[in-house]
Amino acid sequence: MSALDIERRQFDTLVIGAGGGGLRAALQMSEAEANVAVVSKVFPTRSHTVAAQGGMNAALGNVMPDNWHWHMYDTVKGSDYLGDQDAIEYMCRAASHLVVELEHAGVPFSRLANGKIYQRAFGGQSRDFGGEQAARTCAAADRTGHAILHALYQQNIRAKTHFFDEYFAIDLLKDDDGYILGAVVLCIETGEPLIIEAKTTLLATGGVGQLFRTNTNARINTGDGIAMALRAGIPVQDMEFFQFHPTGIAGKGMLITEGVRGEGGYLVNKNGERFMERYAPHAKDLASRDVVSRAIAIEVREGRGCGPNADHVMLKLDHLGPEVIKKRLPGIRDMAMTFAHVDPIDTAIPVFPTAHYTMGGIPTNRYGQVVIPFEQSAEEAIPGLYAVGECACVSVHGANRLGGNSLLDIVVFGRAAGNHVIEYLKENRYHRPFNDSMAEEAMQRIGQWQKTGEGESVDSLRAELQKAMEHYCGVFRSKEVLTEGVEKVRTLVARVKDARLKDQSKIFNTARIEALELENLMGLGLATVECALAREESRGAHSRVDYPERDDERWMKHSLYHANGHIEYKPVRTKPMTVDSFPPKPRVY
């Protein structure tokens, strides 16, 4: 099939991905009467935002005094000083307003006795720039992501956003002047490609947790948008920073929210010792995620793990009492009973650090515009292209994201990008000319999987990649191990062209979708392991045993990985919008 024969649709603006980021952006644009198409490979409420549990940070001060500036400090510190401080200031200042907006949109937040939104403590939160524990995380029990995603979808129905449900995005359309003009997508139900032309395209496709064998992520989290950007010639930023959540159910990976520790739960090793007291005397179990994950890994490595294989630790919450657990943590109680076969009301949950969140992604500024180095400028916007949420790297999370900041990130920058698109549409009233050659590469990618005959299976290649990433690019890393990892992943990437699909049918062919996802995973796996090898320091989630210290002189910079393997670097934006910057200092909890 040539691009000429493909059906074409035109919209003012295209959003790829219908999680919280995509839906918040779409809502902003639909309410401004832009003609919005949202493409999602799953029905919107199946997007992975639905699985977010603990909550969303905002210095509402409903429980105790709080201040957006303290939130900003915590976020900069949490990022291990790799976060961009202008974007962090913007996010933390906007947070309270945006929580209120969500509440008005219908989100059923839990409530305090005075009728205000309930807030709980979360990791890495402090009052007064590193003082006592704050309680900043607005929660709807432990189903906050579900509550937010459904409310945003409901508001989009009201605003008459146009949805393309179960369409898979293949590649971006780009013209010779570098403008992004939409995307080639595939209708999963019919198997037919479709060209969606749009004056702007916003990527909100989420993270790439499926790179790792044990992860907290949905099967759909294959980094599609990040990989599309990489193929469109955009370097991807800070991919070496991948968050391991301290408390995935051991051996299985399902997430147990940090809110458990926020409500008073804590970790113990095989001796029943509350070991976080040794690693973070002040914040203890509510230290940053990277700190807690490393502590658990060390406990297990040094033989203090629990269970017959001494391969996990226990998360204890029975002392909270059945009332608190049923009221505040009903979802994780379900999860623990279903997958760990324990009722946390009387038994601790076995947990281990589990791949959770992609800090890196498509480089953007705080308007959600995708930016790349060009001539003298470190950050030149690509006309017509935006990215928000986990697929983007603004970067508000830097080297380590704080719990409760990802739901915040998606609504803040979803809305900001929506606003910027509205302005862009005023300046760019007409569609730029489309030409068939723009869709050629995408069609070739589809065609590649129509080859028949003997070949490797997509499943086995993905399993090998996930195993390799876990083995070579986990919580602790070193030059020796990463060098092997790069070799291994390169070999796997090369083998993709020899893989074959047995199923060549068109209608709802999920094997074909998984093949296209595999290509995305492979490209990003290589980016991650290459950038991890290149960064010779330990910062946030990137922990090198051969370079155990943070090295601000050489490495306080963002990495940018190009599809050809070249890595360049750009400075961290250390200057906030209005306040003084927070200069790097030793990070203790």
Binding site: P108, G115, Q154
Partner: protein, 231 residues
């Protein structure tokens, strides 16, 4: 472990058939979804929806040994062999275990499932007491998997007219919300013989809901509110 799985590919099959698979190497403590993944590794043509794998996204509702449920939270050891897996009943079949959910989503949208407030917006959150908020428990947790509506005989007979348990649960979720001000409109929309009143309290919905929600009760509450509203 033996499985009988509903297969239908409209491109090649004249009619649906049940295909048998045997998995020698599967842990009985695993979930049905794990078994489906293993089968798909052998036979990549088997098509089904899935995403989160932990019962929160609602993708993988299917009919398991005659009963609707989510494959990802249904342990194999709770099932009698051979394990028969079919698509959700009452909706058009797209392929294998994939049904066309459009009629279901249409009913959901029809109840205008969004918070509606006519008063001017305050600059802070709307206040809601914990007791008022408690009214939403058991309602807002719905994951739109479709297990309930497709287990409901009233929905099978009138999928175009009867809103079905899932949509009505959502309707009650907003009627029960102390912040919502569209009570009259919501009730009016449900008047007539079909949209609400086709529910005959058969309670299949409650029986199959993988999240333990109770649409029958919600429907009863709407009926009660409607009566009160009329007098």
């Amino acid at each position: 472990m033996r499985f009988l799985i509903h297969r239908y590919n409209p491109e090649t099959d004249k009619k649906p058939r049940m295909q048998e698979y045997t998995l020698a190497d599967i842990n009985a403590g695993d979930m049905l979804l794990d078994a489906l993944f293993q089968i798909k590794e052998e036979d990549d043509s088997l098509s089904f929806r899935r995403s989160c794998g932990e019962g929160v996204c609602g993708s993988d509702a299917m009919n398991i040994n005659g009963r609707n449920g989510l494959a990802c939270i249904t342990p194999l050891n709770s099932l009698k062999e051979p394990i028969e897996v079919r698509p959700l009943p009452g909706l058009p079949i797209v392929r294998d275990l994939v049904v066309d959910m459009r009629p279901f989503y249409h009913q959901y949208r029809s109840v205008k499932p969004w918070l509606t407030v006519h008063d001017p917006e305050p600059e802070t959150e709307y206040l809601q007491t914990p007791e008022q908020r408690d009214q939403l428990d058991g309602l807002y947790e719905c994951i739109l998997c479709g297990a309930c509506s497709t287990a409901c005989p009233s929905f099978w007979w009138n999928p175009d007219k009867f809103r079905g348990p899932a949509a009505l649960l959502q309707s009650w979720r907003f009627l029960a919300d102390s912040r919502d001000q569209a009570t009259a409109e919501r009730l009016e929309e449900l008047e007539g013989a079909y949209r609400l009143f086709r529910c005959h309290s058969i309670m299949n919905c409650m029986d199959v809901c993988p999240k333990g929600l109770n649409p029958t009760k919600a429907i009863g509450n709407i009926k009660k509110m409607m009566l009160k509203h009329l007098v």
